[in-house]
Symmetry: C2
Subunit: 342 residues, 2 copies
């Protein structure tokens, strides 16, 4: 692999002239430029960005650390981040933590070593240590999707509490009085916020809180299956299940099928996070939709504002609205059919 020196020798100029051609900086005579370009083509020269970054102290790369590549919610978010980054002519490194803090910490260590210019983080758990670790190295970071306590950091997220509140209200308006909430890990803010919204809706309505109706688990299909089975086995089982994300919903739906229960005739089921149109052969699930793409895009824009020093000193917290989409998985309890369209 040839170096800038090889190119210089080949073109009969100094390395500096080659460098100027490469970076379009300073003045180079037309003749010299042509000779350099010919040498580059002939040698198949590829500049070494390691050396370049070492000198320039910037990598023009940001990292997106997130918790699940297999979840379209996050891949959509990733796409938003990539689109924003490419407008600034930056590259994005995608890092999948699988909801594991250990993996996350390993990635963060590697990324700091690689000297990425900034980090977009969906924290595996809502703790501030990882954020402070990054900040201690002077690397700008924007937290996405989830809150972290007591950290001075920019955050772009959705209003989980409100989304959960509205969906719970919707179910209550249908007549449901026994709604189970199947949520994620207690250490994740979105999992907790969705519980808070749910509880607020219930208590506003003067409804008793049944502890057994709120179950913490993981954002996975397997966990959704288990949690659903658990609440269905209760002496007074729920007439509606509210899943805190799409994977939990898928597992819960399977548990209903296995129990021989019809949706929404016997039990309603609703969830956070829509599936992309390409997934659902027939859109069926009533959902709280979150603007994943926008979240990725806006978080990345905020990161670049920080990188270029254009953002205000104070930390920003951008909270995006959610939207309820009613489909065919929800209906009134004990009434065949419910509010079906067809």
């Amino acid at each position: 692999m040839s170096t800038i020196r090889d190119v210089a020798r080949h073109a009969g100029v100094s390395t500096m002239t080659v460098s100027r051609v490469l970076n379009n900086s300073g003045y180079v005579s037309v003749e010299a430029r042509e000779r350099v370009e010919a040498a580059i083509a002939e040698l198949g020269y590829v500049p070494n960005s390691l050396a370049r970054s070492l000198r320039s102290k910037q990598t023009r790369t940001v990292a997106l650390v997130f918790t699940d590549v297999t979840n379209p919610f996050f891949t959509t978010l990733a796409r938003g981040a990539e689109d924003a980054a490419s407008h600034h002519d930056f590259n994005v490194i995608l890092c999948n933590t699988d909801e594991s803090e250990a993996k996350q910490d390993r990635y963060l260590a590697v990324l700091l070593q690689k000297r990425v210019d900034g980090i977009l983080l969906v924290p595996a758990r809502s703790r501030s240590e990882p954020v402070m670790l990054i900040q201690r190295q002077g690397v700008p970071v924007v937290v996405m999707d989830r809150r972290v306590p007591a950290a001075q950091v920019d955050v772009v997220r959705c209003d989980s509490e409100r989304g959960a509140y509205e969906m719970t209200r919707y179910l209550m308006d249908l007549g449901h009085r026994h709604i189970a909430l199947l949520t994620g890990p207690e250490g994740v803010s979105t999992a907790r916020d969705r519980v808070l919204g749910y509880l607020r809706a219930l208590s506003e309505d003067g409804q008793p809180i049944e502890d057994a109706m709120v179950v913490y688990g993981d954002f996975t299909q397997a966990s959704g299956y288990d949690m659903a089975q658990q609440v269905l086995g209760l002496p007074l089982p729920p007439t509606a299940l509210f899943a805190a994300n799409n994977f939990i919903a898928a597992g819960a739906f399977r548990a209903l099928s296995d129990a021989g229960l019809e949706v929404p005739t016997d039990v309603s089921i609703v969830t956070f996070d829509d599936l992309p149109a390409a997934w659902a052969y027939e859109p069926f699930m009533t959902v709280v939709e979150q603007p994943a793409y926008d979240m990725g895009y806006q978080a990345t824009e905020l990161l670049f504002a920080r990188l270029s020093g254009q953002a205000p000193d104070a930390c920003q917290e951008v909270i995006l609205p959610t939207r309820i989409i009613v489909r065919h998985s929800s209906g009134s309890p004990l009434v065949t059919g419910g509010p079906r369209d067809h």
Copy 2:
């Protein structure tokens, strides 16, 4: 951000001793090691892997360049690649090309500049130029999922031709005589191979080939919708649709719904690529399943074999088998119900 020199000064040793502690190489007295470790902790020192890689001429990073982050087929493949890489203590950079050769070429250029140690490539189009570009720089590359013509390169892929052949046979055995194949871009080998398998099944059976029944498009939902509409408008419309991937299938299914056609009563629909269990609330589609995870894992293992010089000189072509999973989207033509289970 502190450097190795700061640490050395702080610990009262030379930079070389610090380097030895960091890399666990050579001899360091217990006392010196402790002083160095204390200094590292106190300063929050993070080694600069740019400088390290510049010296050592290896980044311990491989890149996975693939065509669609939002498709679970590829994210599953990515997971296989990541798992294999992490066993070798390597990092993986994920690059999403969106089926665009322009994006792909841009990523490849960046990756070569970043001096990744190897590249795993799902080529956006089945052309050999990008592969040769990489090889010219002496960077090992393994092609995945798709063939490239006339290139001396390792390939790990599935047997698309055979999978398509078997699925077509299955449809013919059900009694179908008018099967439309909705496939991807003509420039992609998997799209073409699936046509070849389809044609072989038809001609083996002595069936006439109807040109209008084979439609090339994109691996997207929108394209699937359009292609389905096109064949449904034919004078003699198909009794079965065979989609070349899951996104095409989703679009085709929607076109059937919009046309008021029932599946599989009126029309059968089958496809390549299963959806992960977490997606399909009710597994419904009859599919040709491909071992995506294994493909990612094995391709990565092959890449590491090359990196360590353990692989045989000759290029390998690993062809993984596909598997047909019959569900409820396929039945006999003109017969209500067909081979439904429940």
